[in-house]
Point group: C2
Chain length 110, copies 2
């Protein structure tokens, strides 16, 4: 069940990161929290479009938002970002270990 949930979270996170506007929103939020309008400012799109991208990011767990009065503040969720990173890192290091073993084997064969 835990594995299924992690798998599903990875689906949503990589899906969220597959769009350049959403990546630029993640990039902005890694420099600190921002309101929705601050997030929208550098993007050439309507506010509703920004909100839609924000919902994808929120659903993936990469971003959380909280509302105070009329302002919604968005912030990055570093643990989720780390989860996506770790999945790739583990695959890459497994490939590098494989390559090291192959190197050792060829060295011994000489």
């Amino acid at each position: 069940m835990v594995k299924y949930m992690l798998n599903h979270q990875l689906d949503l996170m990589f899906q969220a990161l597959s769009d350049p506007s959403r990546r630029s929103m993640v990039e902005r939020l890694c420099r600190g929290p921002a309101s929705v309008s601050e997030l929208a400012k550098p993007l050439a799109m309507s506010l509703p479009a920004v909100v839609q991208h924000l919902q994808v990011l929120e659903k993936s767990g990469l971003v959380s938002t909280s509302k105070q009065g009329r302002t919604r503040t968005c912030q990055i969720e570093p643990v989720a970002l780390r989860t996506a990173e770790q999945w790739i890192t583990e695959r890459r290091t497994s490939w590098e270990r494989k390559l090291d073993r192959l190197g050792d084997f060829l060295e011994e064969e000489r």
Copy 2:
């Protein structure tokens, strides 16, 4: 232009990684090259469906394939995997630096 191409490649790579079957294919290929039927064996899907997923991975640059006789061999492209990883790592470390600076600031304020 280079930035646009990298951005587009990131779109395709994260999109490719957003599916659990494609992630398990990447996982398998990180342990060494495999034929299409070897890749298909642990997956509960038809061969044409596997080929379709493989095409998404190939288009993203994460996997390359070569044909010898009737056998198509698939292998991981570690540089592409590293590009996707690096994008996340850079964002995460930028967030951590921000947090460190905040910590220093609060320390000085005391």
